[in-house]
Symmetry: C2
Subunit: 343 residues, 2 copies
Amino acid sequence: MESRPVSIKDVADRAGVAVGTVSNVLNHPARVSSATRERVQAAIDHLGFVRNDAARQLRAGQSRTIGLIVLDVGNPFFSSLARAAEDCAAENGSTVVLGDSGQDTEREARYIDVFEQQRVQGMLISPVGDVGPRVEALRKRGMPVVLVDRVDAQRRCSSVSVDDVAGGYMAVRHLLEAGRRRIVFVGTKASFRQVDDRLAGARQAVGEQEGAVLEVVEADAMTVLAGRDVGGVIARRPAGRLPDGIFCANDLLAIGVMQAVLLIRGLRIPEDLALIGYDDIDFSASAVVPLSSVRKPTELMGRTAVELLLEEIEGPSSRRRQVIFDPELVERGSTTAAVRAAG
Amino acid sequence: MESRPVSIKDVADRAGVAVGTVSNVLNHPARVSSATRERVQAAIDHLGFVRNDAARQLRAGQSRTIGLIVLDVGNPFFSSLARAAEDCAAENGSTVVLGDSGQDTEREARYIDVFEQQRVQGMLISPVGDVGPRVEALRKRGMPVVLVDRVDAQRRCSSVSVDDVAGGYMAVRHLLEAGRRRIVFVGTKASFRQVDDRLAGARQAVGEQEGAVLEVVEADAMTVLAGRDVGGVIARRPAGRLPDGIFCANDLLAIGVMQAVLLIRGLRIPEDLALIGYDDIDFSASAVVPLSSVRKPTELMGRTAVELLLEEIEGPSSRRRQVIFDPELVERGSTTAAVRAAG
DNA sequence: CCGTGCCGTTGAATCGTTTCATTAGCACGT
DNA sequence: ACGTGCTAATGAAACGATTCAACGGCACGG
């Protein structure tokens, strides 16, 4: 009962034509007379023939597949970027296959190997650590690579990333425009580059505004709990030393701060204290007071990454491009009383 | 400069051996003398040779790849299931490639086609709608399929799923054991099967407990906002008509209810009102009062799905198995005063 | 010196598809 | 009748790795 897989040969036999003709029906229907085409199609349907991609690819020397390796599929940033990349690839007749490195160098390496053996058209990689050497080797063998959410310092390949300095600037500029002058930045001591960038942007915005002051408060981690601790400390300050605007390095911290400030002191948000986070995670819109935030243009990044890759596949001669997007400000009730009702 | 890809032939030439020998170095190193092996390895390294998976697979007739199609990679349930499946597959020398159907039948169909053309070893599918006919066709062509998070009514293929009736029972049983008797179930009118199951389990638990009553309250949607509305209505009831335990059909609803109950009436959770949700989303542990919940054994499901699939790949004769797991109760501060501090 | 085993190596056949030079068949004009 | 032009179909070569029957060389025993 377990019959061996149906090949193009079987289809040809059943339709009474040569294998080349069947291939033409599949790839160049116009070259075949309609009578033959129908007979072949009938044979295909009857036998349940499915093209063997391996043979097809072997002959073609290339596949119609793009490999995407992300740090964490559970992270909404990556999952929505992946979705956008898939859409963009589909429009160009390619398929995206997804590999999740889970921040693990070994898994990352395994996926790079698998994808290279599969002869994908190219790879989109959001690298764990320093993939410089790996990428160098890939490029040498003619494999197009585009980095995602990371710039290549040596400009060896194209990349798509976000300007976190601009993001920090936008967040604090927004607080300043709402009339706030005593600003607190909540971050962590052992900082990532991204957090440092956001702080740098914040400093820049405050520096440009006369009479504004910036205070940096350190949290233990980038979590809700750590934010609640920081919020508790701030909420207990004497009235004179209270900030009127807080910018948190991410939304989890901001939500923790919000919980503490509302419960411990009953401050009004945004009237007494405006609050803005970063990343625009799903939950931010559902906080007790909907949280303003700054978000990466995820879909745009996904599409652009695919476009850069296809560009390089078409003409490998073209130079590398580092595309850096500005993030978007998402205004919600935690900074703007007017939109408080909306959420 | 763009040299054509390096093949096994090139390696053979450079090492001064036959192609078969190079193949042996790669696949059966023991058959080759160490001197030759080293010479070949040197040639491989020097030329940067990478195996062509298409040729390999064409010859072998099968790949070492498992296709996994999920409804939404952004959903933590699926991303963590995918992670577990990848790990389990890796332990068995296979690789998982992930396709995101995004609840779209068309995308689902496209991934099924692509995977079948790639001759994956088998597929794990969490189906959008009725994939009965598709799966039937796949099986007829000898492609092993295991359904995820869905049972096949016709028992045509193995599946891994969760017993939501048991989950609903566990949640309410937990409330009853904490001494609560006036229970409210919050769900939606236009219900999914899963929500109906949870309610059925809740009814069963209440039915078994003398003196306990269950009231069903309908929300407009399964969102935080809808939960806040329901919570507001409940919180405004006269003291005599207040429930002392609430079971929400998912965590988003529960969080909304919690927000409303705490802010509008200042009820104490869990002393005045115990609250439990379903799904154990990331944020539940970080709510103002950490939310008790019921969670699917995600990792176990991912691993089991892969195991069922491999089982079927090994011996296609074995009968189909429907594996149904019980979910796990996650006790947090919203139901148990003792663990309130822990979170 | 010859036969026997054994180890290491060889090279042709194979997988299923695409491509392309070639051929077959047919209609038309001279 | 014969060449020309055209469409449609053919079938063999090629893609790159794996497999396996066959072979060459060597050591050893008789």
